[in-house]
């Protein structure tokens, strides 16, 4: 196992442990609080074995609106306490689940982005190529981080009655993220020939000026000189393996997103008197097959008639 893999596994382990610990703490705190709140909210009917508490409880009577509000306030308090860390660790810095998790998740992104920003600030990025590399790298960092870190949380197994609904919702969010990233990649690739051809024009004009040659003063002449360059750049790029692969990935991501979104919409629509595409497709398929069968029978009937 390489050093890099070990590091990665270690990070994943720590992130997973943080998540588990924080989840357990949160649910425990929530449960305690809920039962505590219930004690205040629900009138105690069971005899408690002595006479001393009854006077107090009788005086209190059934739960009031204020009691309910208090219970909810305390519930949310416990919720946020759970997010900060079960032992009220918020005061000791960002060691709770949420902050810790986010730091871990975004750490590689921050590191790489800040390194790139430093390079840019130091003026090392010159020209279209370097700038484009910078943008490429930024996008790759985000996509890599999302796929390696954030995505796992969306694909986490769900529990209980609503598990399938939650899974479909999470999947929709996940596939949308992937599609959005791919689309950004695709759009950036499409812009690259523009950037490169403009850069080429700029260089030609500067070179011309330095030599004392007449530069393109008329916008129309400038445009006429630029558009063939742009076209050439595009035609080269559109045939490249890189473009074809990016196109393929973008389309795959689009199809995947549309498929899971469809499933999610079916969940949403089931309570409304609106047929879903799946339902309509079933009807259309039946209709198609019936019409086909009918056409065959009609042709057979014609044959009999002619005979």
């Amino acid at each position: 196992m390489t050093e890099k893999n070990r590091d990665r596994q270690e990070k994943e382990k720590t992130a997973a442990e943080s998540w588990t610990r924080a989840s357990l703490d949160f649910w425990e705190a929530s449960a305690n609080l809920w039962f505590g709140a219930m004690k205040n909210v629900v009138p105690q009917t069971a005899p408690s074995g002595g006479g001393e508490e009854t006077a107090e409880e009788e005086r209190k009577g059934p739960a009031t609106e204020e009691d309910l509000r208090g219970a909810f306030d305390r519930f949310w308090e416990a919720y946020f306490q759970g997010l900060r860390g079960a032992g009220g660790e918020a005061a000791h810095g960002p060691s709770g689940f949420l902050s810790e998790g986010i730091v871990k998740l975004f750490e590689p992104l921050w590191n790489r982005l800040s390194a790139l920003s430093r390079t840019a600030a130091e003026g090392e990025l010159e020209g279209a190529e370097e700038y484009s590399k910078f943008i490429d790298e930024t996008s790759r960092v985000w996509l890599g981080t999302y796929e390696e870190e954030l995505r796992k949380y969306l694909n986490m197994p769900q529990l209980g009655l609503t598990r399938y609904y939650q899974e479909r919702f999470n999947k929709t969010i996940d596939r949308f993220q992937v599609f959005r990233s791919q689309l950004t990649d695709f759009a950036r690739l499409l812009y690259r020939p523009v950037e490169e051809s403009l850069h080429l024009m700029e260089e030609e004009m500067r070179a011309g000026e330095e030599k004392g040659e007449a530069v393109l003063k008329e916008p129309r002449s400038w445009y006429r000189a630029w558009i063939p360059k742009l076209e050439k750049n595009y035609l080269e790029m559109l045939r490249s393996e890189n473009y074809i692969e990016t196109l393929r990935r973008t389309l795959s991501a689009l199809y995947e997103y549309r498929k899971v979104r469809q499933q999610f919409l079916i969940d949403l629509l089931q309570d409304f008197p609106i047929p879903t595409n799946r339902e309509m497709d079933e009807v259309y398929k039946d209709l198609y097959l019936i019409k086909k069968r009918l056409a065959k029978l009609e042709k057979r009937g014609d044959g009999h008639e002619e005979r």
Partner: protein, 405 residues
């Protein structure tokens, strides 16, 4: 100095920024001229414009589901057999009748040729399961039968356009007895070419996934693909050209007609698209004589009628390499390839090819329109009862009617 410095700084962040600065600063030199042109353009764009397409009168003589058959009748019919035109399922057949003076339909009618033209309509989700077989052995065959019955003839002239040409090639191979002469225009039969980006890209497209996620393939999805074949010309230069000519009414009207046609893009039935991409673009089965349609092998050798194959030298969608193999694969003794110096759409609409394309087809058909003894006199097998019921024919036609030679 200031602007140079600014351009230099901008150049570090983005060369595009610096170049655009420079361009706009130059443009600022002629604001008066620009304003004058804008005033003229405003008058034209806000006033009445004649931008209708497909103005030649026709009658719908057959309807089946979304599909219609248009009938164009010349003042005097001078041919023994009518011409049946099958357009592609991408975009609309109105392209053949874009405007008076630039209309293939007009050229045919002037020569005395009677035309039947397929209008595939606008597929809805209901049509997603329709296959190539349903279109070729179903709709197309029903319409051909209808015309044969209407005229009392056994065969007709068949002409196909682009994907519609591929349909006609398949049809002619499966039903050669119904086709007197075959005219294919910018018709792909060989899909194993790298001349067109469409062929290159299609190999990386999963038609099954696309159809599963969309049902039908949206027309706009395909249009975006066509625009991306040459973004510099089709997304930028074309509209710069428009901006430069907005003060010219004729230019604006012609431009808008074409714009209307280009973006009038019906969706493509999902299963038809899947059939076409998988069997043609991925496996190239047609030209190999390995394609099976409706349980029958499509053998190009069965095409024995005269064949005229027209294509365009600068076609970026269906390049010559995709078209020119057809003549060597068919069984016809009378066959001809014609390559015109134009592009995929230009072949039908450019003013230059109006003098070449339509007239060539008219001449070629006239030479092959004769009635063969003992063959053409036989009345056509009547079209199926179902087809007759589905028909919305007005007038019905007159079987055995004597037609002017």
């Amino acid at each position: 100095m200031k602007s140079d410095k600014a351009a230099g700084n901008a150049g570090k962040a983005s060369p595009a920024g610096a170049t655009m600065d420079l361009l706009f600063s130059r443009m600022a030199l002629e604001p008066a001229k620009l304003m004058e042109r804008m005033r003229e353009a405003r008058e034209i764009l806000l006033g009445p414009l004649e931008t209708d397409v497909a103005k030649t009168p026709y009658e719908v003589v057959y309807e089946e589901d979304r599909v219609k058959l248009k009938h164009y009748k010349p003042k005097e019919v001078l041919y023994n057999f009518p011409l049946f035109v099958c357009y592609a399922q991408v975009n609309r057949e109105t392209m053949l009748d874009l405007q008076p003076g630039r209309s293939v339909v007009e050229t045919f009618l002037r020569s005395g040729l009677e035309i039947y033209m397929v209008d595939w309509g606008y597929p809805t989700r209901k049509d997603r399961y329709l296959t190539l077989d349903d279109h070729i052995n179903g709709y197309l065959d029903n319409m051909v039968d209808f015309v044969l019955k209407k005229h009392g003839i056994p065969r007709l002239h068949l002409m196909g356009i682009c994907m519609g040409g591929t349909f006609c090639v398949m049809y002619a191979a499966l039903h050669p007895e119904k086709v007197k002469n075959l005219v294919t225009t910018v018709t792909p039969v060989n899909f194993d070419t790298k001349q067109s980006l469409l062929n290159v890209w299609s190999r990386s497209i999963s038609a099954a996934d696309l159809v599963e996620s969309y049902g039908n393939v949206p027309g706009d999805f395909m249009n975006l693909g066509f625009l991306l074949l040459n973004p510099a010309r089709l997304i930028i230069d074309k509209y710069v050209g428009f901006m430069e000519n907005m003060h010219n009414r004729d230019f604006v009207e012609n431009f808008l007609r074409m714009e209307k046609w280009i973006f009038d893009s019906p969706d493509l039935p999902g299963e038809t698209f899947r059939d076409f991409i998988d069997n043609m673009y991925h496996k190239n089965l047609l030209v190999k004589n390995e394609f099976v349609l409706g349980g029958r092998k499509v053998d190009l050798g069965n095409i024995t009628m005269p064949l005229l194959n027209i294509y365009a030298r600068y076609d970026h969608l269906v390049p010559p390499e995709a078209c020119e193999q057809l003549t060597s694969k068919v069984g016809s003794a009378d066959k001809e390839d014609v390559c015109l110096d134009t592009g995929h759409i230009g072949i039908y609409v450019s003013s230059k090819t109006q003098k070449e394309f339509g007239p060539k087809i008219v001449r070629w058909l006239r030479e092959r329109d004769g009635v063969e003894k003992g063959r053409e006199g036989t009345p056509a097998k009547p079209a199926g009862r179902g087809a007759a019921k589905r028909s919305a024919a007005k007038g019905g036609g007159s079987p055995g009617k004597k037609r002017k030679p």
